[in-house]
């Protein structure tokens, strides 16, 4: 049975997939059963989306609003308790092999008096558990990007130039965020509005990034600073 599973997963887009040898058939059947239920949930989601090119595995207690604004590529995996609100100007677009971990929030509306712009995610991108992706300005995420657990992206900032008006009445400022191909955003890191994270860079755990990150660099700390280059 394991061989069959290896073949099926390989055919879904993961080359040379091999199950761990210590998984018992009992647990494997449990996993397959659970994956089957997730795929069935996905079938019921599909017709409501703007576009969907392949299988969708949908966890429990997932809440997705403005489904007609969503385009999915092939093999999309959405964990339990995920909340995706796709109501925004340009919608939400995922490439192939995108996974969204448990409890992750992708929030594109903000306030209905001022919708978010939109989000575009490339191929082979993984959001781990408890991520928070705030879409206000445009958010563009490349291919092969890893988001660690608890990491977050913000694409707006409060204005605070006046001391005479409370900040929550001064409105917001939206520049958008770009995360280029091959980036790893480690656990708990925060990417703030206006930032471009360059190709193949690594944002270390817990970092707060408020300035552009050059390609091939490793940045960390609060505020994020270049620690070294990857070469």
């Amino acid at each position: 049975m394991k061989k069959l599973v290896n073949k099926v997963i390989t055919s879904l887009g993961r080359d040379g997939y091999q199950l761990d040898k210590s998984i018992s058939s009992y647990h494997l059947i449990g996993i397959l059963f659970s994956k089957g239920i997730q795929a069935v949930r996905g079938v019921f989601l599909k017709p409501f989306l703007k576009e969907s090119k392949g299988l969708i595995f949908l966890g429990k207690n997932v809440k997705i609003t403005a489904k007609s604004k969503i385009s999915f590529g092939r093999t999309i995996i959405i964990g339990n308790n995920v909340f995706i609100n796709a109501l925004c100007k340009e919608g939400l677009m995922f490439g192939n092999n995108v996974s969204v971990g448990d409890n992750t929030i992708i929030e594109c509306t903000g306030v209905i008096s001022h919708l978010g712009q939109g989000i575009k995610v490339g191929n082979n991108v993984g959001f781990a558990q408890n991520c928070f992706i705030q879409v206000r300005g445009k958010v563009v995420i490349g291919n092969n990007v890893i988001f660690g657990p608890n990491s977050s992206v913000f694409s707006e900032n409060h204005n605070f130039s006046s001391l005479d008006v409370p900040i929550n009445m001064q409105g917001v400022n939206r520049k958008g965020v770009v995360i280029e191909d091959g980036v790893w955003i480690a656990s708990g890191a925060k990417i703030l509005d206006g930032v471009i994270v360059g190709k193949n860079s690594i944002v270390a755990a817990g970092a707060v990034i408020n300035k552009d990150v050059p390609p091939n660099s490793i940045v960390g700390g609060i505020p994020g600073k270049i620690l070294k280059y990857r070469n």
Copy 2:
């Protein structure tokens, strides 16, 4: 229809409200329907509260315990999966226009051998998603305060003066926290026990604040330091 919605929201306390022009009628109806359900849930909550002066919009899977310890002002918005435990000595008191984002936890009990003191929140206060407000010592939050996603407040600390007894058996220390009017606590920031955050100050993303913050200042880093003043 949009004009009508603008008027209704304005009358609920948001002056000059204007819907985003790119919202379709289809999505607007969805939002209104969902707000309607939230308001109905609120109606069923109201009689159990100590006091409630206006509408309550209540999300899905909200868990509220010790409801009789809660006083709400006008127009309270509680997101999905919020957990509020109000069992404490002085209870939980919200002013007008307070919103609590998805998954946020406001926990006032701690342990039933030593209840928390209580929490008082002013008008026009927003807690974003995934906030954690720990009420042990008294927590006082002014008007027009913004809590970014994942920010937290702690109002107790473990004692650790002895090396001969494990910390979890040395008990706790509770001083309480005060956050004055007009403060912005940015994403992921942590306010620790004993701290007063002065009027109109900004606590930057990811900061850990263990000392008082003077008014009109911007603080950041771990531990939090004054970065500049707002003027």
Copy 3:
């Protein structure tokens, strides 16, 4: 009635337990009722576990997979919305008096092509709300350890030696984590793979720990540095 409750809780392993005098009988009955339901849920979980030596208090919406890989000591408390995935090589083992806060995730599988090693937790250990415990390499947690809200443990790291292959295709590296007796991991702190946190040490709020922590020390910051010693 309060006296009776004090006696029962003392007999469950907490010496000299005393309820807070300000709890009303009304709220106390509510708490007892809710604890009763949690204990009943625990009774239904027990037969599926590998081993369970005492009472289990189980919250709402808890998801536990690979139950047959779990060994529980006496008096285990699992909060609401907790997710425990125990599918790994050596399983999950809890000592006595272990509590797991709301929304906490203990994830032992990672990917089914490469299962996690296992986790062993001592006696009198508390995981607060929103903790994230990633079990890939072996995770060993001693007795009397406190995990603050939002703290996390990681026991794998992505490899990133090559610039020609995306990081998400370079595989991972697993060393494991050891947290010795009496440690306090404060709110939001992150313990990264390969780290040993020595006996009785304190990891300050928001710290990111990527190197071993000597016993009896207080460490903080990003990356974590020794701030002082406890003596």
